[in-house]
C-alpha cells in the first residue's frame, strides 16, 4: 500500500483541484455538532471533530429520495404510468469519514448488494463515491470499534486512509479509486513514515475504553435468547423513537410512500425504523410487534444475533457509539450486548425460580 505525505500547506490546493472532478462532501460544524454536508465553492471540510452527529450513510443512502414519478394529467398519454427518475452519475468524494462509518458501508453491502438482490440506488451511489477516511486519534468514551473487529485506524470500506501527523496528513492509498483521486488532487509525495503511522494506531487503540463482548453470541441458542428474562427490564425506558436507527451507520430499513403534488405523483423511499409501532403493522390490523418489548428485542436480536448467524461478519454494529450518546433514555447497546453475550440457560433457570 502506497503511503503519501500531504503537507497541510498543500491541502487546500489539492481540494480545489478535486472540486471540478467530484462533488465533495465533508464534516461541517453546525451550531453544536458536526454533520456531513456538500462542500460549497471554496468551503473546506472541518476535520477538528470526534464524529458527526448523524452518520454519513445519508450520502449513499439518502433519508428521503424520490425514485419513481408519473403525471396525473389525464390529457397526457402516459398518465398514471410510473417512470424511473434518472439517477445522477456525478462522482462524489467524501473527505473525513471515520473508519467505523466506512466499515459500516461494507455491512450495508451485505444487504443491498447480494446475489439475489441488487438495490440499484445503493449500487450506483457506492460506485460513484470515493471515501477518504480520517483515522481517529482521540476516540470517545462511547467508542468500541475495537470490540467489533474494527479500530480507529481500520481500513475497511475506505479508498484512502488519512492520518493527521501534525504538519501533514499521511495518506495510505487502499484502492484504485483512491489512487485516482490522489492523482487528481496532485498529492503524490511518497512517504516511508509507516512506523509513525503504526505508533499512532497503537496509541489510539489504547485510548479505547469501552469493551463489548461478542464471542458467545453465535453459540447461544436463538430461541432461548429470544425468551430471556431481561428484555422486560431493558425495554422499559425505550420511547420508541427513531433516534438510534437514524443515527446508526448500519441500519438499513426503508419505507415506500406515494405522494401527490398537484398534477404529479411520485414514489418516495424514506428511512424507516423498527422501533416505530407502525413498522410491522399489517393491513389486516394485526401487528406482530405491537409492544415495546417486542420491538426493542427485535432491534438487538437483529443486530447482535440474527445478523451474526446469517453472515460471517460479526455483529451488525461498528461501535461508533452514536446511539449510546444520543438515546434520550440511555438505552445502551454495550450493556445489552454484554447481557446477551453472557446469557446462559442456567440464568434462565434461576430467574424462573
Amino acid at each position: 500500500m502506497k503511503l503519501v505525505s500531504i503537507d497541510k500547506k498543500d491541502w487546500e490546493k489539492g481540494i480545489e483541484r478535486l472540486r471540478p472532478r467530484y462533488r465533495l462532501f465533508g464534516p461541517i460544524r453546525e451550531k453544536t455538532y458536526h454533520a456531513f454536508q456538500r462542500l460549497d465553492e471554496g468551503q473546506l471540510p472541518d476535520l477538528a471533530f470526534a464524529n458527526t452527529r448523524l452518520s454519513p450513510k445519508d450520502i449513499v443512502f439518502p433519508q428521503s429520495k424520490a425514485i419513481l414519478e408519473c403525471s396525473l394529467d389525464e390529457t397526457k398519454a402516459d398518465h398514471h404510468i410510473m417512470k424511473s427518475i434518472a439517477g445522477d452519475d456525478t462522482p462524489q468524494l467524501v473527505l473525513g469519514i471515520r473508519p467505523c462509518d466506512a466499515s459500516a458501508l461494507t455491512l450495508l453491502d451485505l444487504n443491498f448488494n447480494t446475489d439475489e438482490v441488487k438495490d440499484p440506488y445503493w449500487i450506483q451511489a457506492r460506485e460513484k463515491t470515493t471515501f477518504f477516511g480520517l483515522a481517529c486519534d482521540t476516540p470517545q468514551s462511547t467508542c468500541f470499534c475495537t470490540s467489533v473487529g474494527g479500530g480507529p485506524f481500520d481500513e475497511k470500506g475506505l479508498d484512502v486512509l488519512l492520518v493527521d501527523a501534525d504538519d501533514r496528513y499521511l495518506a495510505k492509498i487502499l484502492t484504485e479509486k483512491g489512487a485516482a483521486a490522489m492523482q487528481a488532487a496532485g498529492w503524490q509525495d511518497e512517504s516511508d513514515a509507516n512506523a509513525l503511522l503504526e505508533r499512532r494506531r497503537g496509541a489510539a487503540e489504547e485510548r479505547i475504553r469501552s469493551v463489548v463482548h461478542t464471542d458467545r453470541l453465535k453459540d447461544i441458542d436463538i430461541l432461548r435468547l429470544h425468551g430471556a428474562p431481561f428484555w422486560e427490564d431493558i425495554s422499559f425506558a425505550c420511547i420508541n423513537c427513531g433516534t438510534c436507527t437514524y443515527l446508526c451507520p448500519t441500519c438499513w430499513c426503508f419505507d415506500i410512500q406515494d405522494e401527490v403534488h398537484q398534477k404529479t405523483a411520485c414514489r418516495m423511499k424514506n428511512w424507516d425504523s423498527c422501533m416505530y409501532p407502525l413498522f410491522t403493522h399489517h393491513t389486516s390490523g394485526h401487528n406482530p410487534r405491537g409492544t415495546k418489548l417486542q420491538r426493542l428485542r427485535q432491534r438487538f436480536m437483529h443486530k447482535l444475533k440474527y445478523f451474526v448467524d446469517k453472515h460471517d461478519a460479526g455483529i451488525m454494529c461498528v461501535g461508533c457509539g452514536r446511539c449510546v450518546h444520543s438515546c434520550p433514555v440511555n438505552i445502551d447497546i454495550r450493556h445489552i450486548c454484554n447481557l446477551m453475550n453472557q446469557y446462559s440457560t442456567e440464568d434462565a433457570c434461576e430467574a424462573q425460580g
Partner: protein, 55 residues
C-alpha cells in the same frame, strides 16, 4: 399561525349566521381584497418531491 410567519392578513375569523347575508357579502369582499393584496401564498406549499436537506 402568524407566529410561524404567515402574514396576519391571510387569516380571518368571523361569526356569520346563515341569516346574515349582507354581512357575508361584506366580509367575503374584505377578505378577498386583503388576501389579494398580499399576493400568492408562498408558504406551506409542496409542488414537487424534495429529498433530504442534509446532504
Amino acid at each position: 399561525m402568524t407566529h410561524m410567519g404567515i402574514e396576519p392578513d391571510r387569516m380571518h375569523f368571523s361569526w356569520i349566521s346563515s341569516a346574515e347575508a349582507t354581512k357575508f357579502v361584506v366580509v367575503a369582499k374584505e377578505v378577498t381584497e386583503k388576501v389579494r393584496a398580499l399576493g400568492p401564498n408562498k408558504h406551506f406549499i409542496k409542488t414537487e418531491a424534495r429529498g433530504a436537506q442534509h446532504v
